[in-house]
Symmetry: C2
Subunit: 501 residues, 2 copies
C-alpha cells in the first residue's frame, strides 16, 4: 500500500512539474521573451499541456487510485495522505469526464477567439466577436453537460474555480450584497470627490519599483523564494513553492498603479509562500480556490494596503522616496486619494465599493446566457441596461462595455468572475477572525508589525494548501460559514468614516 502511495506521488509529481514548466514558459512569454519567439512558444506550451494531460487521464492512474481507495477509510479526512488521494481522484475524475476532442477543439477555438477579440476591441466591433462568443457559450454549456446531475448548469463551471460551491448560493450572496452596495454608492457619490492630485504627479518608474519591493519585503515577500518583474498585465505564478513570481506595471503619472498592483500580487504570492513546503510536488501544494486566492490579494491590497493604520506607519517611507512630490501632502489627503469611490465603466479600475457591482453584473449575465434566457446578440444591450440600473452610468460603446474583459474571449462563460467578489467577502471574514484572535492587529499595522496577521493567515489559510474546499477552509479558519456580514460592516465602517455626510 505505501508502495502504491509512492507510485501515486511519483505520477502526480510529474504532472505537477509539467504544469510548473508551463507556468515558466508563460511567465517568460509575458516578461522577457523576444517578440519573434512566440510561435515556438506556442508549440512548447501545447506540448507541455499535452504531456500533462496524457498523464492526468492515464487509466493506470485510475487503477492506482482504485487500489488506494481503501486506505483512505482508515485515515482522518484531513490527513495529508487521504487528502492527497481525494484531490488526485477529484482531478482524475474531472479530467476523464471531458473528451480529449472537446478539449482540443475548445483550445483551438479559444486561441482564435482571443486573437479576434484583441483586434475587435480597439475597433469597438462586437459583431466580429459575436460568432466566437456564441461558440464559446455552446461549448461552455457542453462542458457542463459532461457533469450530469447538476442543480444549475453553471455549477460544473463554478466548480472549476470554487470546488463545491453552487450557483444558487452565490446568487443569494450576490443579491444581498447588491442590496447593500447600490444605496451605499448612491450616498457616497452625492458627496464631494477627494482631491486626486497627490497621486497624479510625476513619479519616476525606477523609484516606484524600488519602493514597492521595499514595502513588500517588510510584509514578508521573501527574495530568496520570490521575485518581481514587469509585464503588461500584472499576475502571480508559481514555478515551485520555492520559486514564486509576480509582475507589476508602472505608470509615472499615477502612483497607485504599481503600488496597489504590487500589494495585490504580494497577497497572492504570500499565499503560495505560506503553503506547507512538505506538499511540494503534489496537488496539495496549490490554493484551495480562486476565491481564497483572491481573498489574500484583496486583503493585502485593500484591507491592509488602503487602510489608515498601514499608512500611518508607511506614509513617511513613501514621502522619503518622493520628497518633492509628497512632502507637503498630509497623510489624510493621501489616504482619501487612494480611497476615492466613483461610478466608473472599467472593472479593473474600480474602487473597493463599486468593484463588486461590476463583477455581479457579469455573473448574472453569465447565468442568463447559460440558462438560455439571454442570447449573445442581445448581450451588449443587456450589459448597458444593467450598468445603468446598478451603477447609474451607461457605457458609450462596447469597447468599454461588453468587450472590456479578456475572460469571455479566452475562457469559458462562467469562467471565474464570481471568485473576485467571493474573495472580497472572504477577505473581511478572515480579517475579522484574525483580529478576534489578535486584537492588536490595527495597532500592529500602525507600527509596521505584520507578524500577528501573517501568522494567523499562514496557519489558518495558507498552510493547508488545497486540502479543504473553500467553504470548509472558511469555516475551519473563522468558526463560521462564509457570510456577508463582516464584509458589509467593513465597507460601511471604512467608507462611512471617509464619506461621513
Amino acid at each position: 500500500m505505501p508502495a502504491d502511495l509512492d507510485k501515486l506521488k511519483a505520477r502526480l509529481q510529474e504532472i505537477y512539474d509539467l504544469e510548473a514548466i508551463a507556468s515558466l514558459l508563460s511567465w517568460d512569454q509575458s516578461t522577457y521573451m523576444p517578440p519573434e519567439g512566440s510561435s515556438a512558444r506556442g508549440r512548447q506550451l501545447a506540448l507541455t499541456a499535452t504531456l500533462a494531460h496524457e498523464r492526468l487521464v492515464d487509466p493506470e492512474l485510475g487503477h492506482l487510485l482504485d487500489d488506494l481507495e481503501p486506505l483512505t477509510a482508515d485515515l482522518p479526512y484531513d490527513s495529508d495522505d487521504s487528502s492527497l488521494i481525494r484531490l488526485a481522484r477529484r482531478d482524475f475524475d474531472r479530467a476523464t469526464r471531458v473528451p480529449a476532442d472537446h478539449l482540443s477543439e475548445f483550445y483551438q477555438h479559444l486561441s482564435e477567439s482571443y486573437e479576434v477579440w484583441r483586434q475587435a476591441r480597439p475597433e469597438d466591433d462586437f459583431q466580429r466577436v459575436r460568432p466566437y462568443l456564441e461558440k464559446t457559450l455552446d461549448m461552455s454549456r457542453a462542458y457542463a453537460e459532461f457533469f450530469p446531475g447538476y442543480e444549475h448548469i453553471a455549477d460544473p463551471l463554478i466548480d472549476v474555480h470554487e470546488y463545491g460551491m453552487k450557483a444558487s448560493r452565490v446568487r443569494t450572496w450576490f443579491s444581498e450584497l447588491r442590496q447593500a452596495l447600490v444605496p451605499m454608492v448612491e450616498r457616497i457619490t452625492q458627496q464631494p470627490e477627494p482631491d486626486m492630485s497627490p497621486v497624479h504627479q510625476h513619479f519616476p518608474a525606477a523609484g516606484q519599483l524600488e519602493l514597492g519591493l521595499d514595502l513588500v519585503h517588510q510584509i514578508g515577500f521573501d527574495p530568496q523564494r520570490a521575485r518581481q518583474d514587469k509585464s503588461a498585465h500584472p499576475f502571480m505564478t508559481r514555478i515551485s513553492l520555492g520559486d514564486i513570481r509576480m509582475t507589476t506595471r508602472v505608470k509615472e503619472d499615477d502612483l497607485t498603479e504599481s503600488l496597489f498592483s504590487t500589494l495585490h500580487e504580494t497577497g497572492h504570492a504570500l499565499y503560495e509562500l505560506g503553503i506547507d513546503p512538505a506538499y511540494e510536488g503534489t496537488p496539495l501544494a496549490t490554493a484551495s480556490s480562486s476565491g481564497v486566492h483572491e481573498s489574500q490579494s484583496r486583503l493585502w491590497e485593500n484591507l491592509v494596503g488602503r487602510s489608515l493604520p498601514y499608512w500611518e506607519h508607511t506614509y513617511p517611507q513613501l514621502q522619503a522616496a518622493f520628497p518633492d512630490q509628497l512632502r507637503d501632502v498630509p497623510l489624510e489627503a493621501f489616504y482619501r486619494s487612494i480611497n476615492r469611490v466613483q461610478r466608473s465603466l472599467i472593472r479593473t479600475d474600480a474602487d473597493e465599493v463599486t468593484y463588486n457591482l461590476h463583477v455581479m453584473i457579469r455573473f448574472d449575465l453569465e447565468l442568463d446566457l447559460l440558462e438560455g434566457r439571454l442570447e449573445v446578440r442581445h448581450l451588449p444591450e443587456a450589459w448597458r441596461s444593467r450598468y445603468k440600473q446598478d451603477l447609474g452610468i451607461e457605457p458609450p460603446d462596447d469597447r468599454d462595455g461588453v468587450l472590456q474583459d479578456v475572460h469571455w474571449y479566452s475562457g469559458r462563460i462562467g469562467g471565474g468572475f464570481q471568485s473576485y467578489t467571493i474573495g472580497n467577502i472572504m477577505s473581511a471574514q478572515f480579517m475579522q477572525a484574525a483580529k478576534s484572535e489578535f486584537p492588536s492587529i490595527d495597532d500592529d499595522l500602525g507600527r509596521g508589525d505584520f507578524s500577528h496577521l501573517s501568522q494567523w493567515l499562514a496557519e489558518h489559510v495558507h498552510r493547508p494548501g488545497r486540502k479543504f474546499t473553500p467553504e470548509e477552509l472558511v469555516e475551519r479558519a473563522t468558526g463560521r460559514p462564509l457570510e456577508l456580514e463582516p464584509y458589509i460592516s467593513y465597507l460601511r465602517d471604512k467608507f462611512g468614516a471617509l464619506y461621513p455626510s
Copy 2:
C-alpha cells in the same frame, strides 16, 4: 513516403521543443530564478531530459528512419530532406549505443562531482575531487567503448563536439600551432607591456551594458529575436530560431570584461540568428559543431572586436559613452591595452596569442589520461610541468591550476576544450575567405559597415545550420580544407605590428 517524412518531422520537433524547454529552464536558472527554486528546477530539468531521451531512442523512430533510408538515395547529399534524415539517423544511432543505465549513473555522478569541485576549488583541495575525476575518466573511457572500431579512444568523445574529426588530425594541427606560438610568446613577452590604465578605470555598470547593446545592435544583434541578460558566467542559448538569449557580466573596474564577453556571445548569437528559418524545429536548426560555433564568437570578439579598423569607427562612440574616462586616451593606447599579451595562469583571462597554449595543454593531458599514460593522481604535477614548458610559468596552487576549469568536473574527459582552438583556427580561415570575396572588409569595418562580412558569414557559415560536418563546412565555405596558415599569419601580422621589436 512524404507521409513518413512528416511523421519523422513531427517526432523530431517534439525532441527539439523539449530540448528548447530545457534550455529555457537552464537560462532562467542562471539569470532570474530565486535561489530556493533550485531543487524543483533540478526535477524539471531531469524530467525534460528524460522525456527528450525517451523520444530520441524510441524504436519507432528507428523503424521510421529505416523506412525513409531509400528516399535518401534519390536525393542529393546536401538536400534538406536527405540531410534531415542523415542527421536524425546519426543522433538516433549515437543515442541508442549508450545504455540508459550508463547515462543516468553518469549524470548522477556529474552532479555530485560538480558540487564537490565547487567546494574544493576555493580550498585548493585536489585530493577531494580526485576520486570523482577518476570515475569521470573511467566513465569517459567506457563511453568511448560503446563506439568500437575507433582509431583513437578520444575519437568518439571528440565526435560529440566535432563530428567526423579525429584525434590524430587535431594532434597534428595542435603540434604545428604550438611550434609557432611558443617562440611568438617568447618574443612578445620580452618587449615592454602596454599601459593598461585606459581600461582599468571606473566604468559604471549601467553605461557599459547600454553601450554594449548599442554596439551589437549595429553588428546585427536583432532585439526582435534576441536579448541579453546578466549571469555569473556569460553564455548563449537558443530557445528557438526566433528566440536567442545571451548573457554578460560587468566589472566596473575593467571595461574589457563586459565589452568582449558581449561581442563574443554576439558572435554565437549571430550564428543561430543566421540559420535558415525553414529549419526551425528540426536537427538542421543547430550548429555544425562546437568549433564552428566558437569560430563565430572568436571572429566577432577578436578578429573584428579587437581589430584596429573596428575601433577606428567605434572608439568615438566609446569615448562619448565614457567621456571623463577616455577623452584623453588616444585610440592607439586603447587598442594596445585591449591586445596585451602576457603569460598567465587562467585560460579564460588569456589573450589571443597565449589562449591556445592553455587549450592545447588540456587537450594533450586528456589524451594522456584516456590512453592510460597518465594517472589522475599525477595530473596536478603534469599540469604544472606543461605550464612551465609551454607558457614559462608555474601555478602556485591547484586552484589556479588543474582545478580552474569546470569542464572536467561537470562533463567527460575529452569534453570539448579542443573546440576552442579549432574555432580560432577556423575563424581566420573564414575571415580570409570573406576578405577574398569582399576585399573592402577592413575599410568597411573602419566605416562601421558590417554588411559584407555579415552577408558572407550568413551565406557560407550560418545558413546551412548543421547540414555539413565542420570539415565539410570549412571546405565548402573557403574552398580549402581546414588549415593553420591563415590563423598563424593573422597572429603574426597583427601582433608583429603591435610588438614590432
